[in-house]
Subunit: 213 residues, 2 copies
Amino acid sequence: MLIHPLTGALLPGVPMRTASSDPHYLSCLQDYYARWRCIPAYEKLRRILHLASRSAVGKVLERLRLQGFLERTPDGDWVPARRFFERFVAGQHVQAGQPAPDTEAGLTTLLLDDLLVETPSRTLLLTVRGDSMSGANIFEGDVVIVERQATALPGEIVVAAVDGELTVKRLDRDAEGWLLRPENPAYPVLRPAGALELMGVVTGLARRLRRGA
Amino acid sequence: MLIHPLTGALLPGVPMRTASSDPHYLSCLQDYYARWRCIPAYEKLRRILHLASRSAVGKVLERLRLQGFLERTPDGDWVPARRFFERFVAGQHVQAGQPAPDTEAGLTTLLLDDLLVETPSRTLLLTVRGDSMSGANIFEGDVVIVERQATALPGEIVVAAVDGELTVKRLDRDAEGWLLRPENPAYPVLRPAGALELMGVVTGLARRLRRGA
DNA sequence: CCGTTTGGAGTACAAATGTTCACTTTTAGC
DNA sequence: GCTAAAAGTGAACATTTGTACTCCAAACGG
């Protein structure tokens, strides 16, 4: 079924059924998701996809699931799967002579949050001061994503409270106990006097470039 | 009820049922959304929020809507609003011995996307391959935030199409014309044969740490 | 040309949904 | 303590939901 370009009316009887119409359905879904961040119920999907029957909606969704664009929660709800967001990150290759990649309007819908935050309720941000972790490529002004937890493994980059101040260091331990290693020879290794006050583990990093411009 | 900004523990002695238990409901919702990318139906929400009645769910959602965390589609479906994705920014200082100083007033929030994206419609993401920009502290696997534009200034880090492949380099120019400098002596300077096919300027960086753990 | 496959329409129905309403419990202000 | 507001319960109900089923027409592959 096609849609009249001017009136928007459905043109019955016009063939459009081919395996390659799934990409079109997918685009509709992606656009809707970009706007509202949800996959609606069958009846609404029926309208969005311009289908006449809910059963057709079910078949479309099932096909998209087999292709890896959608999945279902344990409760049976439809949710976007990893592949659903793929097109929002630019591909590595571009046709020579045609340097503009897909300029679809949905590029921004991949929330950077989704990339960087796994457990929102335990996640907070911290702006890095100083260059004591430059060896780990974390610099002054960077914003680190911290997942709150009381314990961590040696080798992880953690945020800890030292002398009432939060600091980012690499956690390590030796025969004498826990220690916080800066990744910059200009700074001393910290050995907490009492208990180690761990705030959480650094799970990600966000940096603004081109600050002045 | 307050939530300890560092440990995340619910502060004891504070009764459970109060207007400020909404943060707890919000956290549950945020975590569920981070996992499945949808707001489920009332009956499922009832279980997630540990409520006994669906009507209570409705009231919670309505409260969160008034606070700006949720909104509704024209069809009435619940969807996350802007504030839903904001994160707390930790203060730099912590009281020694009592690492929970800043009350709600001191805590600010920040949307990661706001931090990194200025012009959503012209912004896209690109995963970095190779270590040719390690001197600028951009490494394999990092995601760069690219603002699409056809021109750039010398000294800016840009994304350009070279031989049909996207590459991240620092833009420069000399007497002979434009050139693309890697920030790694192991790589050669690129001098585009014809016109320089510029895709955009790198305005930010996102990195996931602790990938394996 | 004909049978098969595929994408969709249409119908039917048990189950689930969102909302309302009256009611109870808890909390906060005085 | 007393009281009013806030938060949550539980039942009721019209609507909507997802799915199973049959049927149909176009596309496909010899």
